[in-house]
Subunit: 320 residues, 4 copies
């Protein structure tokens, strides 16, 4: 029987994590379960940095980006010795189960602890939307809207000059941020891990847009880690009549007050994680698939390859 | 064979309508189809107020709220004589098919024209999220975020005083805006057509929150047309120690630059409407159900009752 | 010699009050002075509801609307018996001086206490911009930007229909919010305490804009307490071809994260109040006049009548 | 006698330029003067790319960033031959006077034309706030608010991790953006052309904040062109326990809907430029000094050195 649940946030933070913490805390307390907050992700498990959470501790946090518990990456968590420290923390505080909100690095940490007997549920929290086992992750909608607000501003200034803005957005191995931001802002070009990046083809396409389509300005949205945005911008200046400018949106995509969609997703997932634990599920990951809250074993999530959204890529091109 | 498509927006406007107009226009032109824009909804059909739309006409409109075509309500459209004027306009301009973006009043208008031989597709555009045959309507996400930004501001000022803010949001017969806004802002009370409004119960609940739960401030989110928000606020001042204040968000919920979600929904639905027409569908409504774009006959949509989201109402109460 | 300063916020709250509290706290502590926060304005003085403020208490509050100290209106503060309770609180906590952030009701409270020997400085905090002795008040810029964001959204939806939006903004006896919001949004009509409200003239002007100027839509910005906005909207529907709609922005104008201008104004004024006290000033009010921080006796402020900004009213009309 | 005025925007665009164009256009037309819009700054003068502006051309542009006339930099404008082409354009279109909105490069262009007999007025438009002869430039307030919104988001994510965010903002030779953004966001460190950049001192200061002041996270705001932000962030990671991250806000600072302050400043300056021309002024620059609209000869502006805001730098440091 579950009497005490621990909650922690791990990996990169994302907007909506606080809403999930709030939902877990109040949902559990409403069911007579004690909640222990763990500071700084798995680091807090290692250092026994935990505290009992009251309903009032989560007052007002639903509007805030970031995570009130803090987060950290702990590469060494794959080591058994390190995991044993976590087990100690669980025993000292009589924690029966744990809910981890984070990216797939957090999923692996939770899976490891599950194998050592800790009942874990995971909740997908990352702005990249790249966690298997779910179509939506907490923080993606907010990061997307941050990106489109920024690109809308770039459109203002690009259209005042004959400019091509190259905008680099986040998305570690997943082009969703770039794709959706590109469609939402009417970008002329979208380059992601899924499309691949071909320098020659990119320049040729921009020359077409410049000379044949006679576009007065252009926006290129590109995922991180594919090329240097400033180098590309400079090439564009040299090889087209556009004045190339680059912007790397960076860490602003990680912060900000969560959108309604992220607040609701996080709130529902948090509550669902609590009820799933009480229903006897563990070593499971919460997900949103086809508009339904689901849970599947963490191991099964790793098998869930995300399908390339070919129709969306085609749609983006068709509307340029 | 479809060579010319008309597009019009009808009923109350909603953010994202422009994105749909853009998507329809460029999607059709990309497929060699001519597009005629109709001004001011069905009024333009009656008055032959139409014009050919070029790709460039929709440049930059994806970011704008409202509808570039204008909109109007035409109650008299149920009259056959009036409908015949519309048929004339179709003939004069050699229009083969029409896409209507609007609420269910627009659906009925489109259905009437379908029965007179015009190939129509409808797209759900309203902030109320109350159109049958779809789980999401264009404009809802933006209105929801407008509402939560406003309520977040009210939370600032309510918490500086021992205040209870009664916030009235739109939602003609559908409590989704109030429910989602209530969950997203941690509102203490949510009152919608689905919950019904009971004055005695409402006051009693607020007295509990005031005297037993000792809440320092409170937010009540209520759908329009259930009661006078100012009267309720005054009652709250009299019967609790909260200072009651009312705010009717009103028409600001109808405007503003659409969110990413609405831009994408609108863009996808617009393109889907075009391809559906080309696939031979007509008298059909586009919808988003379980994360998939679908179409069903307009008549079938009227049979699709929206299920009350009981789990969401329970979740909101559980987290207070 | 001043060793301990109390700080309180009084009257209606306004965005930027927290920035002023932060600035006062850290500025004083940096100079070796102890700071006592008073909860809920003058109520806290009456009830000895005070606490010592640390640097860390004001971490992160610069971004938040509202006031972390809370606020309340205390009508009875004009009574000597009530004031004596405040004097007791000062003695118990060895408070040498006090800084009050609020509207002119707060100025009167501070003046009363000054006459009983308490060294007071006041800082103008209100969204109405109507405090004598200063051209700018903390919170005005934020409320103004909240208003223009709302009116920009109304413009979207008004222009989609042949609509006239009547927007009521705050501004108790001062039309600055309405005037500046009207200029900033290109409103067709601005009605304030300074212009006066004349129903016949208003309708006549709107009929001109409708029939002669052929405006497709119109915005009327009106200060609170001049007329019922909904009644005016209904009259407009009856007497022009515009569809009249009303919106009362209400309390959302009081909240929200302060703009840069308000954060800077508040930060500078807070620090200036501290240095002024240390320079021996008291029973003085801080103000911003012609871009300079100044202080003048509270009594002198009451003599500083605000000049009607006739050139701005003329400018607004000229550009319609 | 002035019958026709040309208006152009030059140099980097800034939010509020459209509001100035609108104000100039309607103000002049209201006084019976014809207005010619010049496309793409001085380039349009060279190419006779001008058109008559109607009142309706500027409808709705007050809310938009960028400039509807476009802008370009024309380095060759110092050449007499090039200037003569501009004189031709003036003659062909019977232009009596010109209003230029832009940065000090534009001022020099306007001065050159003044010496050849064209009556010019200039209006300071740049986000950098670095134009002599005025304390405020059109676009600065908006860029500042864009910067603080971005930095507020970085604060969310920095505080979730033990992070130091290095944020580079614009400000070619003027540290106002960095200074005001730093004060507004409670940044721990502000580095500008006025403070100078000293690597050793910067690292030492951050080590103090890390080890002695035990700050959980930190923000460094730095003007462009002083150092490579990413290199500094990496050094911070190596030499403190903070995880250093860099963000270059870039061109998003140039776009976006102008704030109320910029809309009003631009509107007033535009109208003032028109009346100044009608009053016989020319080769003059409009400015805002101590809250008053003024004009002075363009040559005099170059003598107006901006004073270093030492008190504001001290204030920023005192409140850390």
């Amino acid at each position: 029987m579950i009497k005490t649940i621990a909650v922690l946030t791990s990996g990169g933070d994302s907007p909506g994590m606080n809403a999930a913490i709030r939902s877990i805390t109040r949902s559990a307390i409403a069911r007579g379960i004690k909640v222990m907050g763990v500071r700084d992700g798995f680091l807090g498990l290692i250092n026994n940095d935990v505290f009992e959470m009251e309903r009032s501790d989560v007052s007002g946090i639903i509007v805030r980006g970031g995570t009130m518990l803090g987060s950290a990456r702990v590469p060494g968590f794959t080591e058994r010795a390190v995991q044993d420290l976590a087990i100690d923390t669980f025993k000292k505080n009589q924690i029966d189960a744990m809910i981890v909100i984070g990216g797939d690095g957090s999923y692996r940490g939770a899976l490891a602890l599950s194998k050592l007997g800790i009942k874990c549920m995971t909740i997908p929290g990352t702005i990249d939307n790249d966690i298997p086992g779910t179509e939506e992750t907490i923080g993606f909608d907010t990061a997307l809207n941050t990106a489109i607000e920024a690109i809308d501003k770039l459109r203002d200034t690009s259209s005042s000059h004959h400019r091509c803005s190259v905008v680099e957005v986040m998305g570690n191995r997943c082009g969703d941020l770039a794709l959706y931001a590109g469609i939402s802002t009417g970008a002329e070009l979208v380059i992601t891990p899924e499309t691949g990046y071909d320098y020659e083809w990119t320049i040729k396409r921009l020359q077409e847009l410049d000379q044949i389509r006679k576009k007065s300005h252009a926006i290129v949205v590109i995922s991180e880690k594919l090329t240097d945005a400033e180098d590309l911008a400079k090439s564009i200046s040299r090889k087209t009549s556009f004045a190339g400018r680059s912007t790397v949106l960076g860490y602003i995509q990680r912060g900000g007050s969560p959108t309604a969609k992220d607040r609701i997703l996080a709130t529902r997932m948090g509550d669902f994680a609590v009820t799933s634990l009480l229903d006897g599920k563990h070593a499971h990951a919460v997900g949103m698939i086809e508009g339904q809250l689901v849970s599947m074993s963490i191991e099964d999530t790793f098998k869930h390859k995300k399908k390339v959204k070919q129709d969306m890529f085609d749609l983006q091109k068709r509307l340029v």
